[in-house]
């Protein structure tokens, strides 16, 4: 119970910090905030500018604005997008689905690819490992937008297998998910293999084989669980990469989602939305890392002690 309270407290602290960070960023934008919001190509009149200024509360002192902002955030009001004229939470809510779909598909694909690559090659001959390492390195060092464009060119434009168009159906999810998944799979496979090899090098793995277990059985029944727990430390990175990668992938494939929303908001200095996305990321991170922590406790009984 106490640990639960502690966790919730820590999570709230992170959220508060993220909110503050977002607010401070807005304050740091140089130049006149309203002009910046409007961008270079506009004929907005002085009246309109004053209206925007008042609406964003920019005529108030920063501290008052900060407190008002926090007050609104606490009551669940993330404000309204200036550009899109909709409550931020509604915007985010609308865009969450496609991104979650993409991230989940990518995560599943990445884990699957990484598992196959790692389990099949851990502790094997040099050539086998070198080949696996090679593809992983290439996957990791290829900018993902390029990967996306290459995949599209190959499997949508040249060979019409996967459509770009029906962006929300399953076939159209394949390429974006793969684009997002491959670099992640590269990293996961490396970490998994290291974990597997470390586990296989442990005496208990030899003991298990001395009991009469086959090599494969040792990998699957014993080593994999150890390797999986080494993945737990990657949670933060994973969440970040999935969300960050979504920005690139959604742009390349013209998909809806938080990434596209973020990009548009950053492009247009739509700070309420940027702040909302920052808060959302922090929330997702806090929730997922706590879930993984719990899961980790299930996997590794030593942590429970």
């Amino acid at each position: 119970m106490r640990t639960l309270a502690k966790r919730v407290g820590a999570g709230l602290a992170v959220l508060y910090g993220a909110a503050t960070l977002a607010f401070v960023s807005l304050q740091l934008i140089p130049g006149d905030t309203v002009s910046t919001l409007l961008g270079p190509a506009t004929t907005a009149s002085a009246e309109v500018r004053a209206q925007i200024k008042a609406e964003l509360g920019l005529d108030q002192p920063p501290l008052a604005r900060y407190l008002a902002y926090l007050g609104r955030v606490v009551t669940g009001d993330l404000g309204s997008s200036y550009q899109l004229q909709r409550p931020v939470w509604q915007l985010i809510g609308d865009q969450l689905g496609p991104t979650v779909q993409l991230a989940a598909a990518a995560m599943a694909a990445a884990v699957l690819i990484a598992l196959v690559s790692a389990v099949a090659t851990a502790g094997r001959r040099r050539q086998v490992r070198a080949a696996a390492t090679a593809w992983e390195l290439v996957a990791v060092s290829l900018p993902s937008y390029w990967l996306g464009i290459l995949l599209l060119t190959a499997f949508s434009f040249q060979l019409p297998i996967f459509p770009v168009i029906g962006a929300q159906d399953l076939p159209a999810l394949v390429l974006p998910a793969l684009t997002l998944a491959l670099p992640i799979a590269g990293v996961l496979a490396q970490v998994l293999r290291e974990g597997l090899e470390a586990a296989l090098a442990q005496p208990f793995a030899v003991t298990a084989r001395a009991r009469g277990l086959s090599q494969t059985a040792v990998r699957l029944r014993h080593a994999l669980r150890h390797a999986a727990s080494s993945l737990a430390t990657l949670t933060g990175w994973l969440v970040g990469t999935l969300l960050g990668g979504a920005v690139l992938v959604e742009t390349v494939f013209g998909r809806s989602g938080i990434g596209a929303l973020t990009l548009q908001a950053v492009d247009n200095k739509d700070m309420p939305v940027v702040m909302g996305v920052v808060l959302l990321s922090a929330l997702v991170f806090v929730v997922i890392s706590n879930l993984v922590d719990l899961l980790y406790r299930v996997i590794d009984p030593r942590v429970r002690a």
Partner: protein, 534 residues
């Protein structure tokens, strides 16, 4: 039952085992002894076809219960492993999968060899666990290895190895990581199994352990069996020089008579120390007092976790006691500010159990010793000479100056650690398990070195160990610790001769002194000036 002839194992071009032959009969215990790296474990693993992926294994003959094992395929081996030959791995404490319950591990053997069907398994697991002497097996089976003490873990491991009823048991160092009392229990268990008709191949570097159980002893050295015979023969009449050296290295009682005592250098008075633990507090040190005079050695002995290291750290001024005080050379040593303590630090120095961990891994020997010398305030130009002198004192060649800790052997490292402690010309040296990580033969060299240095330099020494043999070898006086308290103390001879406290009695009973010959004084010739060659 198992017959091995001309077993050779090599890793790439490096031979690890070079033509080993032996045999074990049912109900017989063959012990293989030898120093670290002599090829014992590789031999053991080769017996179940697990010498490693990169190992090439050859043998003139290799039969088990009449069957030729040289031509066995992987599938064939799987039927042998666990079912007919059981292997208890060297690293007992980490040989059970930490993520699975003990019961699952035992059940796995049953499952793999289809010894019992799913419904029968839980019952079999319990009976196996209780067979090997695990109390309350129902609860233990559901626990994970980390929730079990070392002894229980070792027993659970043995239960998992015994599950499919192998007729030959290969036990690789089954007791190394265990406390003396627990060691005795495990050895008893193995003895019972042998008596029940199993063949037992016992591997160890610990002659004391071997002496207790083995019918025959084979001595391995650099991949070869250099001597073999009945236990009595080998122990009493070692033929091979290496065997003799090995036996000579087993520490005996202190040869020199207690010396005249100097002034009190260190006194620890009514010290308490608690640590916070996840579930409350742990009283690590509970009202400990002792004093240490110039030129004498106080041996502090006790099982793991009894608070020995904590006492040492308090004495060294690295940890503040909750209560009580420490005086160094008559002056306050505890409860003072770190700044005031720094001047006195050179008077009390330490040699740690784990020399590797006590050196900055990036620093070469020259820098390690140079730093220690610099702290004594010696002018820069005189330092190299002093470093050379120190190296010579501990019997190391100057060529070692450029080596980093990882590039030296355990014995060499420990000598460097001693040299570092000597650099400040301290009045007191605290040795916290300085030899427990070392091979017996190297252990002897280090112990001799310490003794000689003490004799020459007249320092006071607080010597901590869980190994009674070692303690008995070096100490003038002995203090026995249990659960943070000193339960008994007195002159070494007294304590060993007529232990008063039940715990001390138990400790002493666990060690089979009598099966070992007395240590020959000849081995004491080593010491300062002799160059290490380990």
């Amino acid at each position: 039952m198992i017959q091995v002839d001309g077993l050779e194992v090599s890793f790439g071009a490096v031979p690890a085992v070079r033509g080993v032959s032996f045999q074990v009969a049912p109900g017989e215990c063959l012990a293989i002894v030898g120093e670290s790296g002599s090829g014992k474990s590789v031999t053991a693993r080769a017996l179940v076809g697990l010498a490693g992926d990169r190992a090439s294994v050859r043998a003139r003959a290799f039969t088990f219960e009449g069957e030729d094992l040289t031509a066995l395929t992987e599938t064939g081996w799987r039927a042998v492993r666990g079912r007919r030959i059981g292997l208890i791995l060297q690293d007992a404490l980490v040989s059970l999968d930490p993520l699975r319950t003990v019961g699952a591990e035992v059940a796995e053997t049953l499952r793999v060899h289809r010894v019992a069907d799913r419904a029968e398994r839980p019952g079999r697991v319990l009976s196996l666990l209780s067979e090997v002497g695990v109390p309350d097996p129902g609860r233990r089976a559901r626990q994970h290895p980390h929730e079990l003490s070392g002894g229980l873990r070792q027993r659970a491991l043995i239960a998992s190895v015994l599950a499919a009823g192998p007729s030959l048991l290969v036990a690789d160092e089954p007791t190394t990581a265990l406390d003396a009392t627990v060691q005795a229990q495990i050895l008893d268990l193995l003895g019972r199994l042998r008596d029940a008709g199993s063949g037992l191949l016992l591997i160890s570097h610990d002659l004391a352990a071997v002496a207790r159980l083995a019918d025959r002893i084979a001595v391995m050295h650099e991949g070869r069996i250099v001597e073999e015979g009945t236990a009595a023969e080998v122990l009493a009449e070692p033929r091979h020089p290496y065997t003799r050296a090995l036996l000579a290295a087993v520490p005996g009682a202190r040869a020199t008579a207690p010396r005249e005592r100097g002034p009190v250098q260190l006194s620890v008075e009514g010290v308490f120390r608690r640590f916070r633990t996840p579930d409350g507090h742990q009283q690590a040190v509970d009202d400990v007092s002792f004093e240490l005079r110039a030129g004498e050695t106080l041996g502090l002995v006790g099982e793991s976790g009894s608070g020995k290291t904590t006492v040492a750290r308090i004495a060294l001024g690295l940890l503040e006691p909750d209560e009580g005080r420490v005086l160094l050379g008559g002056r306050s040593w505890s409860g003072v500010r770190e700044r005031d303590r720094r001047a006195g630090r050179r008077r009390i120095q330490a040699v740690y159990q784990d020399p590797l961990g006590s050196f900055d891994p990036r620093h070469p020997v020259g820098r390690i010793l140079g730093q220690a010398v610099a702290l004594t305030g010696l002018p820069r130009r005189e330092r190299p000479a002093r470093v050379a002198e120190l190296l010579d004192q501990v019997g190391l060649p100057a060529t070692l100056l450029g080596r980093r800790p990882l590039e030296m052997s355990g014995g060499q490292r420990q000598r460097v650690a001693i040299a570092r402690a000597l650099a400040a010309r301290p009045d007191v040296i605290v040795c916290d398990e300085p030899v427990s990580a070392l091979d017996v033969s190297i252990q002897a060299q280090i112990l001799d070195l310490l003794a000689a240095l003490q004799r020459d330099l007249g320092v006071a020494m607080l010597f901590i160990s869980h190994d009674l043999g070692v303690i008995r070898h070096v100490s003038d006086r002995i203090a026995v610790m249990k659960d943070g308290r000193i339960v008994e103390s007195g002159d070494a001879a007294e304590v060993f001769g007529s232990p008063a406290h039940p715990y001390t009695k138990e400790l002493l009973a666990a060690v089979s002194w009598d099966r070992l010959p007395r240590r020959r004084p000849a081995a004491r010739a080593s010491g300062p000036g002799r160059h290490g060659h380990e």
